[in-house]
Point group: C2
Chain length 244, copies 2
DNA sequence: GCCGATTTGTCCGTATGTATC
DNA sequence: CGATACATACGGACAAATCGG
């Protein structure tokens, strides 16, 4: 699949910023200069730049130029960013990962589950519990619920490998939007049973609702991390249009 | 200040979605229909829609339409979203807020501080510690460092009210980008001293670097929350351009 | 303080491609 | 196949902010 022009430019600029060909605090070449360089329209350049701005790589300044504000981050623990699978995260963090499936059942959503997950009452679901190992230590406890109708043929073997890989590459379904909530919760019996804990009495918990390309919420996930191996990154930009 | 057209349309659509004039799972009117309704170009409509998509309000589907995936969230604890001040957050969460300044000093960045905050060694800084009360309970401990050159004339009185208000409305400086990292850390002596704690032995910690309109990092913040009153929201969209 | 050059911000109209039905 | 709807891209116009002379 040939990539779109704005994607190519975006990734090219991104790499140049990460390699510090455009160093921290410097200005990018002007939009018109980039138009000449990439032989495209100004809108296309602006689209690539706005993507970089959203990720906290650059910041546009009216009448001045576009300043690089990217600085490499030292990764000390398991860092979470955009939508990615456990395998992808582990790889990006330079860790060896493995997974053990401790429960794999089917159930039907009742009132209690519907309240918690957002699945309509009566939905048929896969219910999966998995322990995630990083460099040999049991650090993360994952609870997943999938709409059975959306992820047919799921097996414990697939769950042990990568469900996202199965969804995207075997089923051909596209994952688009994920709404997540980060909280800190008390340790549960399951945490104690399955994880290598220390003396923390709480866990970092990421709960998420995932939507596919049809706009259907097909997954609810709760990911429970040991606190000292958890890090969640975010870049926010101040919205325009707050008229005083 | 007159708002831009795309801002007006964005907010109009946003309100209609929140009021469920465009209900969950329904399609928005087609882009061409919206063009007629708002009397503007398709580009402008698309810009407004893409902003809504970033916030997890809608999801575009090629050849089909734009589906509403917004659902109101029940706010159970102190929820953090985009860039906003403590006052703004408290107001949005429907809580009465107050602040006590427990330390207000000046210091010069040394190697240790520079490593932790990213301020260059030798920078003159304001160092502020504040306790945040929500509905009368001491729940959040904030540590701020500001570049003195960027925020001249800061006083404990201002710190007790709203530093962001001072920065934006008195100094006229614009806050643009904020890079944040969420972790869970052990309780410190300061936490025990100043906060109403329960038996948790850890805190939810949000560390952030804030950039102004000149692309200058002028603030480092560490905000320590009691775990049971903390909630961090995020919406992620799967990036295009992962060619297999 | 003014003017002009540069740079980013907003908006439009149009054309073409691709996916769905 | 055609109609509809979103996706990408171009080129142009004007506004607004900045900076140097």
């Amino acid at each position: 699949m040939p990539k779109a022009i704005f994607q190519t430019i975006y990734q090219d600029l991104k790499i140049k910023i990460e390699e510090q060909q455009y160093p921290f605090q410097q200005l990018l070449p002007s939009e018109n200069a980039l138009v000449e360089h990439y032989h495209c329209s100004r809108n296309t350049i602006r689209r690539a730049i706005s993507m970089l701005a959203e990720e906290g790589y650059v910041q546009s300044m009216h009448g001045i130029g576009v300043r690089v504000i990217y600085q490499p981050v030292r990764q000390t623990s398991f860092t979470i960013g955009g939508i990615e699978s456990f395998q992808e995260s582990a790889c990006r963090n330079g860790l060896t990962a493995s997974t053990r499936v401790v429960q794999f059942t089917e159930l039907v959503s009742d009132e209690h589950i519907a309240e918690k997950t957002g699945f309509p009452i009566g939905s048929e679901l896969y219910y999966i519990q998995r322990v995630r190992y990083l460099n040999g230590k049991a650090l993360i406890f994952d609870i997943n619920m999938f709409l059975k109708a959306c992820v047919p043929g799921l097996t414990p073997e697939i769950a042990a490998h990568s469900i996202y890989d199965y969804i995207e590459n075997t089923l051909g379904m596209t994952i688009v939007t994920s709404k997540r909530i980060m909280t800190v919760e008390r340790i549960t019996q399951a945490d104690e049973k399955y994880l290598d804990l220390n003396d923390f009495n709480c866990m970092a918990v990421v709960s998420g609702h995932t939507y596919n390309a049809d706009g259907l919420m097909f997954e609810y996930t709760q990911s429970r991390h040991r606190p000292d191996f958890f890090c969640f990154q975010d870049t926010a930009t101040r919205k325009q249009g707050y008229p005083k």
